[in-house]
Amino acid sequence: MNLIRAWFRRLRGIVPNQQRESDFSAELESHLQLHIDDNLRAGMSPDEARRDALRKLGGMERTKQAHRERRTLPLLETIVQDIHYALRQLRRSPGFTITAILMLSLGIGASVAIFAFVDAALIKPLPYANPTRLVDVAEHGVAFPRSNLSYEDFRDWQRLNKVFTSLDAYTGTGYLLATPSGIEPVPAVRITDGFFRTLGVRPILGRDFYSGEDQPNAPATTILPYSTWQHRFGGRGDIIGQTVSLDGNPTTIVGVLPADFEFAPRGNAEFWTTMHQLTNCEKRRSCHNLFAIARLKDGVTLEKAQTEMAAIAKQLEIQYPGSNRDQGATLAPLSELIVGTIRPILFILLAGAILLLVIACVNVASLLLVRSESRRREFAVRGALGASPARLVRQFITEGLVLVSMGAATGLAAGYLVMHLLLGLVSKDMLSSMPYISRLTLNSHVLLFAAIVSLIAAAIFSLTPVLRLPVSSMREALNEGDRGSAGTLWRRLGSNLVIVELAIAVVLLVGAGLLGKSLYRLLHVDLAFEPSHLATLYVSIPRKSYPKDEEVVVITRKILARVSTLPGVTSAAATSVLPTTGNGNTDWIRVVGHPFHGEHNEVNERDVSVDYFKTIQAHLLRGRIFTEQEDHSRPRVAVINKAFADKYFPGEDPIGKKYGGGDLKPDSIKEVIGIVDNVRESSLDAEIWPAEYKPYNQDSDTFYALVVKTSGDEKSLLPALVNGIHQVDPGIGTMDPQTMQQRIDGSPAAYLHRSAAWLVGGFAALALLLGVIGLYGVIAYSVSQRTREIGVRMALGAARASVYQLVLKEAGRLTIVGIVAGILCSIASAAFLRSLLFGTRSWDLQTFAAVVLLLGMAAMLASFIPARRAASINPVEALRSE
């Protein structure tokens, strides 16, 4: 108890207190007086009395010092002193301090912000019960490593497997929601009954779907995501039991999901319903439209589950050779499905941010070196006055810590801002497919990361100057003429640091160059259609009003006719899937008269209207395009793309040839009437697949896209397009009006490439700036140290040109070594980038050349300024100044 009290009192003593000090002085003074009085009484002379009193006391100052040390905690007090001293030092050179803190906060801010994204996406567990036991379950075909599951296969898998505690399916869908302001198409998900139980998610209001609620006789029910409840129903407490009209069917709301619920594969869903009514597709084993999730039984590994599911798929393949040929099972951790695509990008960004941080640290370290160089005398003096080497080292460490603490504080603040800035830049579509990103916070992981980074930086900054501490050569350091040797030492260490900086700048610049070039290639990939002046939107025809396919065709004709009369519109067409959406929506074909062994010949299937090719300006290579008259009553026809012709009709003329489904059922047989160019149906970075285009007259659907060519501004046409359709029938839903160019630019492939290119480009620009500043610093310092040498040279007749040469040669050597090292590192690290490159080799010479040129020029500029200063030295003054 007493000890603790004493300790606290001493802790309080840390605060410098003049009163305590003077109090003790007074006490000592009175002590001396009392002693002197006694001594005088004993008969000493006044002088002698005082001398004796002081002698007995053991020295005034020593006593005071002992008392002072007892008053406070000496170690802590010197630390406070060191911090005071460090702050004073930093304040005395504001230029250095501000530069150092800016660089540090830049490096720390960037890496913290990127790390927060990494944390949100890759480190935080998915918000489900025991998420590592969840797996993504899908089929795989010849062309698709992960393809949709057919409903009947799914039910068999569910029944036969012994490795999952539960297996549930989901599929995206859309409903026409009746709202007070009219019909609105909304994205939704249809699931099997146990879906939420498999995830381990419980509704916060109402109930989960009952077991069996996905059976045909079950009533229509829906569970709302929290956001739908809030935005569409005002968060009303009495929502359970209310009905909504989905596609005209009254549907009972039975539950509300928690606010933090998310399911990235269907992130934008506004309603969750059951598969109680099967679609036509779901009634056929050969039609694939589902994905599934499952929870592994305890003790079952992913490999074991994969093996068992493969065996089940094999069994079904034997049982149903027509539909299930080559249809295997594929399993992966659910997290892989959700964050798998973004992982490489995040790692590359994190690597970029950390490289930037390293450059910033190196820059600050070299600044510290320069400073320690100019403070050699100061430290020598302090050493000569009795400061122990340990005390001097501690001073450096304190200064490093103070600097890093300030840098870390501002860096964290900057990182926080950047995090939210970046989050704001992510488009809404992207955000709904990556809902985990919005969980981004400055949490304990991020703070821990920042702390580790700061500690490393602090260690570097404390140790760099310590290495240069003139402990052994104290006397020489006190010498005025010492500069030469110290300068050489500094130049060796400092210039090595600059090489590191330049090399990192090269790596980042090369990375940015390659990513930039990939982006350019991606955005300029051959589309084989003209995306400009195209307005697009999705249309959803209510089945209730138009139950027959013929009626859908008629209303589609009406819509196209109405839209064509809008001002500026030159042509309008419908397609089941817009170009650049991605490979998929496929058909299995078999050419009549060709050998066939039951293989699945997968081709993209598109139902388009007559003017489709004219509207998107795709070239007809051979044959003709179907006419409006070719409808259900006429023989089936198809236009195929060039890839189709090349793959399935090698060396023949496909026109007039016939093909059909695998079983060549009479109603599946189509005649090829034309060949069009390879219109890019695939996403920008994927390969072109064979494609068939069928007249929508012969195969209509209630959900399709409109493509409208205009002579004017396509963007301003979009609202008119929506209005025009609603004039035909206000019950028709319209969705997602965008121009074709917006779709291409905003497509996931373009988006990911663009964000990677811009962010790495940003890092590279900063790295270039910092690297060049570092080079400038080294050269400028070297020139300032060699002023006398240069003065002597010039006094001895050296021409200004040779002085330029002297300085530029030094800078050139550093730059060349840095660039060469950087290029080597880039080549070594290129494999890391390869997954993100498109149409660009990782050793792209053009990019390398551009980087070398850019960095070389920047370096020249940075060294020219000090070289000029060196050349303009006045020899007389240079010599006099020493």
Partner: protein, 114 residues
Amino acid sequence: MGDKTDVWQGTLALMVLKTLESMGSLHGYGIARRIEQTSGELLSLNYGTLYPALLRLEQEGAIASEWGQSENNRRAKFYSLTRSGRRLLEKETRSWEQTTAIVARFLAPSEDPS
């Protein structure tokens, strides 16, 4: 146990406490002189070492200080024992007596004739 100064410090603290107990309130110089006198002038104290010891005792709450007037009308800081100081003194005295008793046993002339 600790090194020599620690022992000395502890002993000095005990002496200070005992002095204050018998004398009541006393200033630093008085305490120092009193210790020397009590020791029969065998101890020669370096007066400066007394003050950190006093400060320590004060920090631990064993003594309290107050400015006052000395017998010959000088201003001086007077120290006096607190309640917890009295308890400390009792404890320290007991432990010191125990220690000396033990040491005395070791140093006592052996009773074994051989």
